[in-house]
């Protein structure tokens, strides 16, 4: 499982880097371009990422494949870590 996670993350990184270079994608740049010169090319990339994630998570959530369990807030992390400073961090902190 650990090897699978490593390889999958490496693949996601390579794919995102490759496509990102090709499309000049930048989420921050999308917002900046829109405010500065009303250019929506990069902003559309941001919205497509958000919308696709939303739809997929909705469908997979309905199907029970992904269980919506929100990542912790910084407050929750500090609280849980303060209880046992030597112990490992909770798995959902990142």
């Amino acid at each position: 499982m650990a090897l699978g996670v490593s390889v999958a993350l490496l693949f996601i990184g390579v794919a995102a880097g490759f496509l990102g270079q090709k499309s000049r994608m930048c989420f921050i740049g999308g917002f900046r371009d829109f405010l500065l010169v009303r250019d929506t090319a990069l902003l559309r990339g941001l919205l497509s990422f958000l919308a696709t994630t939303w739809i997929l998570v909705f469908i997979l959530g309905r199907a029970g494949v992904i269980v919506p369990r929100y990542p912790s807030t910084i407050v929750q992390v500090v609280r849980s870590h303060a209880g046992d400073p030597q112990g490992p961090l909770p798995d959902d902190i990142c």
Partner: protein, 156 residues
């Protein structure tokens, strides 16, 4: 749409990345935190703390799953974009206008990213996963971009 044009489309980038990261989440749902498919700040932290733990045996806090898997996303990002730039002959060393400002900017981005537990990319991803906390962070992020953009506009 022809293939080269599709590859250069930001909309395709967004959709493809979303499919990859949500697919990753579906496959490894029991092993990794929620909305973890891509992040520059926290993946770099997990990779770095793993390397430090392996090399120096200096105990650095690592999330439980990152102590088993090696989070290679940051290296993959660099490798993938290098591959694309080399492949199309666009690779070139760039001299930053202000190296000190860029270093300071990187420090601020990673430090503030670790505070809200995600880089801007993963913030959008967490928004897509319906994380209410990400909504506040994203509002702050976009407000920050708006302020700096307006300052840049005035300076010209």
């Amino acid at each position: 749409m022809e293939r080269a044009k599709l590859l250069r489309s930001p909309v395709f980038f967004g959709a493809a990345l979303a499919v990859l990261v949500v697919g990753f989440q579906a496959v490894f749902r029991d092993a990794v935190p929620l909305a973890y498919g891509i992040c520059t700040v926290c993946h770099a932290r997990d990779l770095l703390s793993r390397i430090v733990n392996l090399a120096a045996r200096f105990p650095m806090d690592t999330p439980a799953f990152a102590a088993r898997a090696i989070v290679l996303t940051p290296l993959g990002l660099v490798a993938g974009s290098l591959l694309a730039a080399r492949g199309s002959g666009e690779f070139a060393w760039a001299r930053p206008s202000s190296p000190v400002l860029m270093l300071a900017g990187g420090l601020v981005v990673s430090a503030s990213g670790l505070l809200v537990m995600s880089c801007p990319t993963r913030l959008i991803l967490r928004l897509g996963f319906g994380d209410p906390f990400a909504l506040f962070a994203a509002a702050g992020l976009f407000a920050g971009i708006a302020v700096v953009t307006l300052v840049m506009k005035r300076m010209r």
